[in-house]
Subunit: 499 residues, 2 copies
């Protein structure tokens, strides 16, 4: 039993079963784990997650499970594979993730009886998490239910444990009522009701928090825009707040040093793998449609075509890590990225110059070193909850690199002052912006780099977690009084037509 | 020169060049033309449109052009084919239409240099319309610039003719700032600025008008939500109003009678082409992705599967008219609809019963007769500015048919009381709703049919046009005073990040 319980689909360690039957482990992937791991130092807690790999399941079954980060206790939940697949791929990734990133194929998607079955699995996994949190939490304790995988768990947990303070943190963007309303009505309503079981619902920016409040209004909830609070059907009040996660420069520098001691190679300084006097454009992404890698490569090709003076001089390093390869959509996207990179190279490459170097690699320290060596960084997601690469790059870069950043990334709110913002769908604009970025004067670049560092370090992980815990405690003591005479939401959107 | 000028991409007549060199003509397609043609009776006007067919171009060149409806003068503008193609297909249909219906493929669409060229053509065609309106309009006259094809023309005309009252009427839905912001910034801003050149901007429902105001706010315009007005950069004030177009029962009955005198066939009463005691589910649509025909057929298949008692009893008549066959997207959609219909028939059909009868036909009177004979009507567009089929069916049906209606159709606002509303993406829900519709009691159906007729007839075309003209006149006399001390829009969305 712990006073603080963290629950997330993916846990802090990923276990691998060795041929000799022993378990090895390394840090799990994803921005949330990266942020929480250092932030949890000094917070005794239990961390509950799903057993994903065979190694995870072995660790969950046996007693050989190690401690979590900073001495936290680990608990892994095992699920029947079909149930997990439906919960994780069909609902969380294929539906909610794409929906919130505006990538749901509205021409083709259909919510049929198969989806209803998948939704039942999503509910089942959420219930298991809620039950595990119930068991693991001290009376009056605090539970953090992380991200869109666990949107139903807050209300389920509240029902069992009204004594517990509940945070639900959403790490993806949040779409407005029109897009959210594409979901079946019953599903949309169950999702909102599930989330509103929390005392505090956190988002990564003001923008996503506002979109969420708009969805609650469209669904007929009473929303207090002054206090950014929503009253659930049972009278419970959920508060909605942005927690714009930043980076910690010391942590990143330590990671780079540790990495350099282990690896090394052609991407490292001093040559950076580019010809003498050459310049390096870098992007670092998961292989993920929302990261917008294909349009980025198309724009790079257009840039070369329109700016022949840069031929042979500018090299584009595209560092990608594999992601969700269990889904056909992601495998197709991987192929498309490879084909686009190859097309650019065939069209523009010479004996001495490869315009695009596509490197598939899951190595955070090496990615940070590539960011450090860049002259230009391209971060152009179609939509993104935050995008920590933009902030990491701002922090570790050593050449006053110019950051080209999608205005639809949450990070744009913090880095607006120093970055060159772009519309991620506009490849012509990105091509022009690459030319601009490579032409900025040194003092302009230095000033922008300074502003970027400042924006990136604004709320580093430790402070970010403390802010959430502090608000959660305060909200509970302040109680859930609702302004007297506050009328229900006025105009209702499409979502409520049948509610 | 006229006191009233109507400008629309498509004119009231479609001309055909006969083998002997003479011109024949019939009424142009589309809801706007259908509504305006009767409404214009008694309003002397000039109607300006684009010459689209070879016959149109011959009519535009020669002097053999007949009068327009109700004695209006016709003027057709000819364009270089590539220019027209870019304006009409690349910008208006492929981009603006799909965008406003949430059907833009956000995973694949890219605004590259080719799109910039298409946009220049859109601008050129709009300028030609503005110039033609300038020439055709009396001093102090009134110009109606119809629909999303002519979004830039209002500001262009205002610049030339500040003496003229300008209406811009949008007949498609309007997407919120997130979706609208997918457009390149310069394009989005030019569109809004173009529209805001009008004195009055009309939409088909409150919902689209509100979305438009939200886009204006996101783009940094001053919006007065009390008066639903927007102040353009030059201080000019544009008013925004909904005009929910309804139908005129007398007109529809006359059309049916005229049609019956000419045609006739197996779809007519008394047998309605269904087995004795059988029931008829009807849909009537343009072959258009936003009409959501494929999901409708999938839902019909799921309905038959889950309700075997209806096998052999319920027949689905799918009456479609060809649309935009010049675009590959529409030809593909046509194939998909045919395949889906065939799949249902192969799976469920018997010697004596064909579950789906797909009829491709452009015959308004016959479509009205099919609506009259229906037991259930399915109108499930993913999004739709209004959808007049729903209202026509409500008006002419003779069997107290149940209307299943997408909540994303503008018509849902007027027909909410009598219809069964559905989420158009939810095929499981539509399958269940078909079963519900076929099980409603006679008195429930009669009461719903009464409410539907009432909602459908609320603002018939003549009244609709008069309301627009009345408001336009009133807004000009009331002037464009802006509330003192009104502050600019507060929070800005993604769209303005670079403005």
């Amino acid at each position: 039993m712990s006073a603080l319980v963290i629950a997330s689909n993916r846990g802090p360690w990923r276990f691998t079963l060795q041929p000799d039957g022993r378990l090895s482990w390394r840090r799990g992937a994803g921005g949330l784990v990266s942020a929480l791991t250092p932030a949890l130092e000094g917070h005794a807690c239990t961390w509950i997650s799903a057993a994903i790999t065979d190694g995870d399941r072995a660790a969950a079954d046996g007693n050989g499970s190690p401690e979590g980060p900073a001495g936290s206790q680990l608990r892994m939940l095992t699920f029947e594979p079909t149930t997990y697949e439906r919960y994780y791929h069909d609902v969380a990734n294929r539906t909610l993730w794409f929906l919130q990133h505006h990538l749901l194929d509205t021409a083709g998607v259909a919510f049929d009886h198969r989806f209803r079955a998948a939704w039942a699995s999503y509910r089942e996994v959420n219930r298991a998490f809620a039950e595990a949190c119930d068991e693991a939490t001290n009376p009056g304790g605090e539970v953090h239910l992380e991200d869109y995988h666990l949107a139903l768990a807050p209300a389920m947990l509240r029902e069992r444990r009204p004594d517990v303070r509940i945070l639900h943190l959403v790490c993806c963007p949040w779409a407005g009522p029109d897009d959210f309303g594409v979901l079946p009505d019953a599903v949309a309503c169950e999702l909102l009701a599930g989330m509103l079981g929390a005392d505090l619902i956190g988002f990564l920016t003001h923008r996503w928090a506002r979109s969420f409040l708009a969805c609650c209004e469209a669904a007929g909830y009473e929303v207090d825009r002054q206090r950014d609070a929503v009253r659930a059907k049972d009278g419970h009040v959920a508060h909605v707040r942005p927690y714009p996660l930043g980076v910690d420069e010391q942590d990143l520098r330590r990671l780079i040093r540790q990495g350099a001691a282990v690896t090394g190679g052609p991407d490292d300084a001093p040559s950076r793998g580019v010809p003498d006097g050459g310049r390096l454009v870098v992007r670092v992404d998961r292989l993920e449609p929302s990261k917008n890698i294909v349009r980025g490569l198309d724009a790079f090709a257009a840039f070369l075509e329109q700016n022949p003076r840069f031929l042979g001089e500018v090299t584009h390093l595209v560092l990608v890590s594999l992601s969700r390869e269990g889904m056909a959509e992601y495998r197709r996207y991987h192929c498309e990225v490879e084909q686009r990179a190859e097309m650019v190279n065939q069209r523009f490459g010479t004996a001495g110059w490869t315009p695009v170097r596509l490197v598939v690699l899951d190595d955070h320290p090496r990615a940070l070193r590539a960011m450090a060596a860049a002259d230009v960084l391209v971060v152009n997601p179609v939509w993104d909850g935050m995008n920590l690469v933009a902030k990491e790059a701002a922090c570790v870069n050593e050449r006053d690199a110019v950051l080209i950043l999608s205005r639809n990334a949450g990070a744009a709110d913090d880095l607006r002052a120093g970055a060159l913002l772009v519309n991620p769908f506009d490849t012509a604009e990105l091509a022009d912006t690459l030319a601009t970025a490579l032409s900025l004067e040194a003092d302009d670049r230095a000033e922008r780099a300074r502003q970027l560092r400042e924006g990136a370090a604004r709320m580093p992980p430790r402070q970010w977690l403390l802010a959430q815990r502090h608000d959660l405690a305060r909200m509970q003591t302040e109680g859930s009084a609702w302004p007297r005479g506050k009328s229900p939401a006025g105009e209702k959107g499409g979502l409520t037509s049948q509610i």
